[in-house]
Amino acid sequence: MRPDHRAAGLSDAEYGEIVRALGREPEHAELMILGVMWSEHCSYKSTRRLLSTLPTNGEAVVQGPGENAGIVDIGEGWGIAFKVESHNHPSAVAPYQGAATGVGGIIRDVLAMGARPVALLDGLCLGEKSCPEADALADGIVKGIAGYGNAVGVPTIGGKTLYDRCYNGNPLVNAMCLGLVPIDGIVSSRTARPGQLAVLIGSRTGRDGIAGAAFASSGLADDTRSSRPQVQIGDPFVEKLLVECCLEIHSKGLIVAMQDMGAAGITSSSSEIAAKSGTGIRIDADLVPLREEMETWEIALSESQERMLLIAEEGALEEIGSIADRWQLDWAVIGKVTDDGLFVMTKGGREVVSLPAEMVGGGCPPVQWPSCKPSAEAEGQERPSDPLDPGGTERCLFTILENPNLAERSRIYRQYDYMVQTNTVVPPGNSVSIFRVRENRSLVAVTMEVDPWKCSLDPFAGAAETFLKALRPLWVSGANHLGMTNCLNFPSPEDPGNHWILERSVSGLAAVARDLACPVVSGNVSLYNENPSGKILPSPLVAVVGLQDCNNPPLRDRESIEAGSVFLVGDIKGTLGGSAFSRIITPGAEHKPGCYDPSKEKDFMKRALKTVRKEAASAGRAIAGGGLMTSLAKMCITADIGIGLDSTVLDTTPECLFGEWGPRAVYLVPERSTELFLSCWEGFPVRRIGEITPGGLTLEGHEMLPEETRAGKAGRKL
């Protein structure tokens, strides 16, 4: 029986387009394949046009979007390949495996560029701690990341975790991998030539994760148990062997082109290589090593993990085989590159699928969903907040530090091996994660940010602020940004309000990328993050990679110094819209969002970098979640120092003490460097707001961090 095209996930218009382009009705297997390949997850049909507005060129960009990962130049012939990818839907259904295979998938994306995976980060948006189901999901997700990342031997050096009710049934798991690659050894997926062979290396193909990409392109059902077969199962041991095996084959110069088998498995990897190389490809389903008996379309779409597709010359086969055998991996020639532009699959000598390769991967017509600004924002004037008295400030600070969103994260990252490969210079738990590259003696800095609360208040300014929150700590530590990757996590784009928010968010990211010259080199989109009980807040996640100035050690966000001044740079007041203060202390209050001022950000960047270059400070921290007081408290707690604040300089409004948004930072400056520091910041708002003291954090003589506040917050100090 001919399956209905709608059941395969295709709209009437899409089906019409297929019939028109083929000049015939598609066969069953073809329909199943197109249903998956034209899904949102594989085709980016709702966002392709939007994504094209993101700036992608820059001095440091070696490879922009369009390959398995982007690459930036870090000097002396070396590049860093990086990308972030979502595994949200699988993690909602099977948290351990969903998160684990998310890590596995992004490692293979980076491997496909010919890069050795050297670092992982994870962006986790989790449900409330008070919701037992959400907490169980969160625990499974963390265990899954640990279970996979630790065994595969790639350190998890940082990330971002936050909690909100909107993620209770819709957790977000965005995994990022960075890989090191010699620029003259980058592998492409566009270099296949007719006559070359398609070699599959890795796990046998089974019935797991079939049509997982299509599953990720719709909302979650009430009963997610029925979706379990669509979740893949990971094996980090095989992944480790696969990484070493592919890198060894590559080191011998035997790889012409390479693709990981992620979403839509054999179909997407082989048709993409063919389409990008301008060739065709012919896959023989009978040659694919299987775990169980399967239909041709199942073989085509299986998302069995830990598989790579290599394109190689026939003469290289013997050596490839012997390397794979030594790593005890299954391998097989499963097809051949052809010159007819077709993606063909045969079974028993019969052509079961014969579609233009171009059509499979890139043929899906873009969809333009309607956009409409949701309800008008309240136009009334925001009432200025009353100043806080010292007791009130202490209570607010205590409550904010108690909140899971601001609390210390060692409970999570201690479960990740963040030191393997012995290059981790600044580990998780700091504003910036930094690793060393032995090959060119450089330090690479990475940050990751997501701020759904600010994005829901004003998607343009909120997305811009998210991006800037990732950039500012890099500058403060002394790193020049090279490029960014992002994951656009949103609910259904079919709702005009949601779509408008998505568009505005992308504009916000594009504005910062353009104004601050931080190009987008890779990214991923995850839509339909919703279930019957609710949808997620707009959650664009941004990760930025920077290169530390090699003449200066990175400036840390804490330092145990005995004497010196505390300086605030930037405006005395921040903004409360979407801030921790607003959410936690005054929920329901209508605070306005901040606004994006590119020239101020640029000015801040130059001065922050100069501060490190001139070695004018002992520690520095960009002010982010929880505002000035939270930043100061974290410095005091983690470095075990005291700070006495000067109440004649500071004002005690919540905007000053707890406001967020915009370029603001605190610096610890030794007495002898005061003049130098001030010269770095001359012409920018800068104030001496206090001094280092033997202990405590005091305002008007009032202790803000009594022992009980410190006790729970210090984490483990070994």
């Binding site: 630790n150 041991f237 480790k240 030594r326 990252y413 201690r414 091996d417 070994l718």
Partner: protein, 238 residues
């Protein structure tokens, strides 16, 4: 001048093999060979053999159990019986107990969490090939990263182990105080590393290769490489 030459055994799933090689080269400048587990012999002139950390065979079946059956293991046993030093780090320690070169087993941490962190260990013996450059009682700041690191031995044998002074490293506070509070994984008596009676096979859960560069936060592991190097040079000089 004769110097130490190290063989680091690479099992499928080993992931600290290169880290060990870098650490030894950075702190002693001596040569290291990575030796594939399917080999049956060690390179000539091998002084030190290291079974590195990682997840050999994915930790399937039982940590270290499959690696203990690898073709190279006979050569490792022969090396140990000749009195030359063998060091097992983390997963390597687990392999040594599976081979039977060291007693006991490593069980899941009491927290049932993988733990990656810097911790402190106290040096209990300075008279081994591995600890000659330390002082007895010295406290080292050194990372651990494991899920199965709680040493186990039946009570009576544990007592004998202690009586014979075979514990080389013990978890402790930064000041050197031992006790449950300072033992991250629940190991009895804070045991972090043990040696065989003959004094040439050491197994330890902490990673000295992760504490060999000040850039990475600690140099406290470096004297261990220096100790073995001196010991081997002394022996070669004999």
């Amino acid at each position: 001048m004769e110097t130490m030459r190290t063989s680091v055994i690479v099992f499928p799933g080993s992931n600290c093999d290169r880290d060990v090689m870098h650490a030894i080269s950075a702190s002693t400048g001596t040569m290291t060979d990575l030796v594939w587990h399917e080999h049956r012999t060690l390179p000539r002139d091998t002084g030190l053999v290291i079974l590195p950390g990682g997840f050999s065979y994915g930790d399937y079946l039982r940590c270290g159990a499959m690696a203990a059956k690898s073709p190279i293991i006979d050569a490792v046993i022969k090396h140990a019986s000749s009195g030359l030093p063998v060091l097992g780090i983390c997963n390597g320690f687990q392999v040594l107990t599976e081979i039977g070169l060291l007693p006991g087993a490593l069980l899941a941490n009491t927290s049932l969490d993988f733990i990656c962190d810097f911790c402190h260990v106290r040096v209990e013996r300075e008279d081994t090939p591995f600890t000659g450059h330390y002082r007895k009682g010295e406290v080292l700041r050194i990372p651990i990263a494991h899920y199965e690191g709680r040493f186990y031995l039946p009570e009576e044998q544990l007592r004998t182990l202690e009586e014979e002074g075979l514990v080389v490293f013990r978890y402790c506070s930064p000041e050197g105080v031992t006790g449950e509070d300072f033992t991250p994984n629940g190991s009895p008596n804070g045991i972090a590393g043990i040696i065989n009676r003959k004094g040439n096979v050491l197994g330890m859960m902490p990673h000295p290769e992760r504490a060999t560069e000040s850039l990475l936060g600690s140099l406290d592991g470096a004297p261990l490489w220096g100790s073995v190097n001196s010991w081997i040079r002394g022996r070669l000089g004999e």
